[in-house]
């Protein structure tokens, strides 16, 4: 258990009030303590975004790990012209996209087992059947459409922002959302997918 203790100490070691720019600079130079602080400050945000983009699947922790490993690699390229959150959002979207694309190649049914804990944890969430429908609908979209749709319709991002995050033209983002909405309309016309 010693290594765990050491890691826990590192995670909580950095001062709360240190500005992000200074922490980023230290982390980019290889300071693990600084990087741990970045992780502690941004992990929740990245995890929540991952959940929205890929759904409540069990691989989210692996994806979160991938996000921060990529962030660590990318930090030397971070110039500070955008906020670190935006930079991290871009990486998170990319990781989610890679995951969704890999999942499309190995299709499997909607991960209801994975969702069990979320679905049955309390009664406050969406009803189980409705959530399963939503997840099925999202799984039917292409990864590009799904990400654009969630960013637009769930997170209320504007098209230029989506284009910036995804790395595409605004028009492309707009078309992806339109295609997703069309699929939704089609689904609604046909009735419940169940």
């Amino acid at each position: 258990m010693r290594p765990h203790k050491a890691e826990l100490r590192v995670v909580t070691a950095a001062p709360e009030d240190e500005p992000t720019a200074a922490i980023v600079e230290r982390a980019a130079r290889g300071d693990h303590k600084a990087f741990a602080t970045l992780y502690r400050r941004h992990a929740d945000m990245a995890f929540a975004l991952l959940t929205r983009l890929v759904g409540p699947v069990s691989e989210r922790e692996d994806l979160l790990q991938e996000v921060f490993v990529r962030l660590h690699r990318a930090l030397p390229r971070y110039r500070g012209n955008a906020s670190l959150s935006t930079f991290l959002y871009k990486i998170t979207v990319r990781v989610a996209y890679d995951h969704l694309r890999a999942r499309k190649r190995r299709p499997r049914p909607v991960d209801v087992v994975d969702h069990e804990c979320v679905l049955s944890a309390d009664g406050a969430g969406a009803p189980r059947a409705e959530l399963a429908d939503v997840l099925r609908f999202l799984d039917a979209l292409t990864p590009e459409q799904r990400i654009a749709f969630v960013l637009r319709e769930v997170l209320d991002y504007r098209y230029p922002e989506i284009a910036e995050l995804v790395g595409c033209f605004e028009t492309t983002a707009r078309m992806r959302v339109t295609a997703a909405n069309r699929a939704l309309a089609r689904l609604t016309r046909q009735g419940s997918p169940r």
């Binding site: 290594p3 890691e7 992990a43 922790e61 969430g125 969406a126 959530l131 028009t171």
Partner: protein
């Protein structure tokens, strides 16, 4: 199911990251970063460097002297070469991913791929090859050997002649010991450089480019698994073969080269993502020229209008947006294009008449 319900459902799945999970993930990240971190080597003293070098050289010489006579009758073991054979009949295509590169063969044709490490060696006796290369490729066709840099390119072998189109970078073609170079940034479709095989003609002279052809819509592609395969023949009904509409005869051109406009558009997006607006503009203008179906051309025109508007070039922006509105290539663009037109007109102090 409407958007609000979807939003509520998705939001209901968002749960906070527990402290245990957060620390567990951090522990794994830290372990991964530690594993990646190269330990700084102890700085050697000055005298150690030549001494170590001399010792190493001496040891190598001893090994060579000791082993060469024993090894002489045998050939040095060749590095293991992964070899894949794809074949596709008429109307079929075969796809393969190797060393991070994607290759698609449109039949009738055959493609042999050898992964020799730094370069992929492709032999295409017949057929149409479309490749997205992440490593340099050596493409051998009858009478022609072409070195293709990483990027997107298409090669067609037809009646002992080879047509090569490079999507983004220079390619060097070696035809019967004669060097030739494809244009940099040549789009795939209209500027095909055709090399006649010495077998078919006495002197290989480039012939004029064929006019742009009508292209088939780009199909979504599924990649064939390649793990652990040493040799594979993807014939009809095979794992990597599709029986989609035939890219034969005229369709063959379309299948092999259809990707051009969309590939150019994708390149334009990449250029924009890395902040190279000039390249993005250039590539979008190529999309407008190349895309005969009109849909991507309209999209590219809208993007050009946006880029020009952002750069303060209102006349250019207006020209592009008018082109979007004058065609009916992409109906989804009518509304944003009208809005953009009004913004441009207002920026130039003009009224925006309703259309």
């Amino acid at each position: 199911m409407n958007r609000t319900e979807i939003r509520d459902a998705i939001e209901s799945t968002v749960e906070p990251l527990s402290d245990i999970a957060r620390n567990k993930v951090w522990h794994r990240i830290a372990a991964q970063l530690d594993a990646q971190q190269v330990e700084p080597a102890a700085r050697p003293r000055r005298w150690q460097v030549p001494v170590a070098f001399a010792a190493g050289a001496a040891l190598a010489a001893v090994c060579v002297v000791a082993l060469v006579p024993l090894r002489a009758p045998e050939r040095a073991p060749a590095p293991e070469v992964e070899r894949v054979v794809l074949s596709a009949g008429a109307g079929q295509r075969a796809e393969h991913v190797i060393a991070g590169s994607e290759v698609t063969l449109y039949g009738p044709g055959r493609l042999e791929i050898e992964d020799a490490g730094a370069t992929l060696d492709l032999a295409l006796p017949e057929g149409v090859l479309l490749a997205r290369a992440s490593t340099p490729m050596l493409v051998r066709t009858p009478g022609t050997t072409t070195e293709m840099p990483p990027g997107v390119f298409a090669v067609r072998v037809h009646a002992h002649s080879t047509e090569i189109a490079s999507g983004e970078e220079r390619a060097r073609a070696l035809i019967d010991r004669r060097d030739d170079e494809l244009d940099a940034g040549a789009p795939v479709t209209p500027q095909i450089v055709q090399h006649a095989s010495p077998r078919a003609h006495e002197s290989p002279t480039p012939v004029p480019s064929p006019p742009p052809r009508v292209r088939a819509p780009v199909r979504p592609r599924s990649k064939a698994p390649d793990a652990g395969t040493r040799e594979r023949a993807a014939s009809s009904g095979g794992e990597a073969a599709d029986s989609e509409p035939a890219p034969t005869a005229a369709g063959e051109d379309a299948a092999g080269l259809a990707v051009s406009a969309s590939e150019l558009y994708a390149q334009a997006e990449h250029a924009l993502a890395r902040g190279d607006r000039e390249a993005a503009t250039r590539l979008l203008e190529r999309v407008v020229e190349v895309d005969v179906t009109g849909r991507l051309a309209a999209t590219a025109s809208y993007d050009l209008a946006r880029l020009a508007f952002d750069a303060g070039e209102h006349d250019t922006a207006l020209r592009h947006v008018e082109r979007v509105l004058s065609t009916d290539g992409e109906p989804n663009l009518a509304r944003p294009a009208n809005t953009l037109r009004c913004r441009i007109l207002r920026a130039t102090g003009q009224a925006c008449p309703a259309r």
